[in-house]
Amino acid sequence: MNIPRRALLLGALLLAAGCAQVSKVASGQVTVGGRIVVDADKDWNQFEQTLSDGTPTWTKEGIAVDELKFYAGLKDGTLIAPTPSEPKGQAPLAFKAGMQAADVVALFERRYSRGGSTFTLEKVMPVTFVGGSGYRFEFSSIRKVDDLRLRGVGWFAVRNGELWAITYTAPRLAFFPAGIAEAESIARSARIKS
């Protein structure tokens, strides 16, 4: 068994912590990550821990197609995505409490650029998010592993040194245009659980 297979086997075996890997999110008011509350007009699917790299992730169409991710009040030093088993000396994708808006955008930029994928920022502007001032950014990306062209939108705010963010990515053909309206609606409805 050569190295890639072994790695794959190990990776696969590490994936599951139980049986059902996807749970249903019923439409209505939903609390995500214990701290962020949103209103979903339709049902969604939520990946369990193992498929979602630790960040609560919703999808309509499935793995590696569309993703709606929730970062619910990340504290100083928390990673927005795990450091992969890749080159050492890689700066971890850690949120820092003192980050300004541009730094948060750069953080997501690095996240989506990993592994040789491209990230092109299209626009970023101030908006209201989780009941206060925040930002919304749009981007396009080419996924290295299969050359798939994606589009994405992110909303974020830093409140009391914590990061609140939602990101939505989907293939630029068909899926992003079809799914973005719902993602926008969820983001607009997002508030911090009191």
């Binding site: 086997l9 059902a20 249903k24 309509k60 499935g62 798939l148 053909l173």
Partner: protein, 247 residues
């Protein structure tokens, strides 16, 4: 995750996967088969119309042999044969089914690279979430084959005049225990744990106008041979099992 938890998780995963293996093995003509067939069809779709035209996208097939030394080698001759056999079998079905099939010429293929790439990504999701182990099922799909490309496939319709696109993907290797380890790994991801050799693949029929995936079949089994016309016909039958008829 500490090593002990890891092992336990691995065990649980394999158990879950193993429990769900059964449906993938056989293709009997029973009520179970009928249930399988409806699983393969999008809601509201049951057959092709007389005169419908199908666009056969470039077939993505790779055949491997595992040598005595335990190394997988791609076999161009086998792959070429499998390709030819698949094509021939599809053409035979076309004649039998009185459906017009046109092939997308290789020089045109580049123009539709994004559509092909998108289909491949979605097909993997369908193979995993709809045909894989139930633990991967997407609850909102409620067991339905319900994926659509919207208007993204219309350029293909315009270029070919075809109503439907047929996408075929096959990975197959002929051998031995060596590959078993890989198959277990793939199995863990897709819900199939195979003891012997494996044919992995899918065939997908997409309405190029509405973008709806109207029919899909996933192949995952321990036998089959695409290299020679006779056994290849059987493999293709398995790949195209449940392919919609014409009315």
């Amino acid at each position: 995750m500490n090593p002990i938890r890891r092992l336990r998780s691995a065990g649980v995963l394999l158990l879950c996967a193993a429990l769900a293996v059964a449906p993938a093995w056989s293709q009997p003509r029973t009520p179970a088969a009928a249930a399988t067939q409806s699983k393969q069809l999008a809601p509201g779709f049951s057959h092709l119309q007389l005169g419908d035209k199908l666009l056969l996208m470039p077939i993505d097939v790779e055949l491997y042999s595992v040598s005595a030394g335990g190394i997988d080698e791609p076999r161009a001759d086998w792959t070429a044969k499998a390709h030819a056999n698949l094509l021939q079998a599809i053409q035979e079905r076309k004649r039998a089914a009185r459906v017009d099939v046109v092939e997308l010429s290789p020089d045109k293929a580049d123009d539709f690279a994004e559509q092909s790439g998108l289909h491949a990504a979605v097909a993997q999701a369908i193979a995993l979430h709809h045909f894989g182990d139930p633990m991967w099922a997407l609850p909102t799909k409620a067991g339905r084959l319900d994926w659509s490309f919207g208007d993204a496939m219309r350029p293909l319709r315009e270029a070919s005049g075809a109503r439907y696109g047929l996408f075929v993907w096959v990975r197959d290797s002929y051998a031995s225990p060596e590959r078993v380890a890989m198959q277990i790994a793939i199995g863990a991801l897709t819900g199939i744990v195979l003891a012997g050799g494996a044919q992995l693949g899918y065939a997908s029929l997409v309405d190029l106008d509405t973008g709806q995936v109207v029919w899909f079949n996933r192949l995952a089994r321990a036998y089959g041979d695409l290299r020679e016309p006779q056994p290849a016909r059987e493999s293709v039958d398995a790949l195209l099992q449940g392919f919609p008829g014409v009315k």
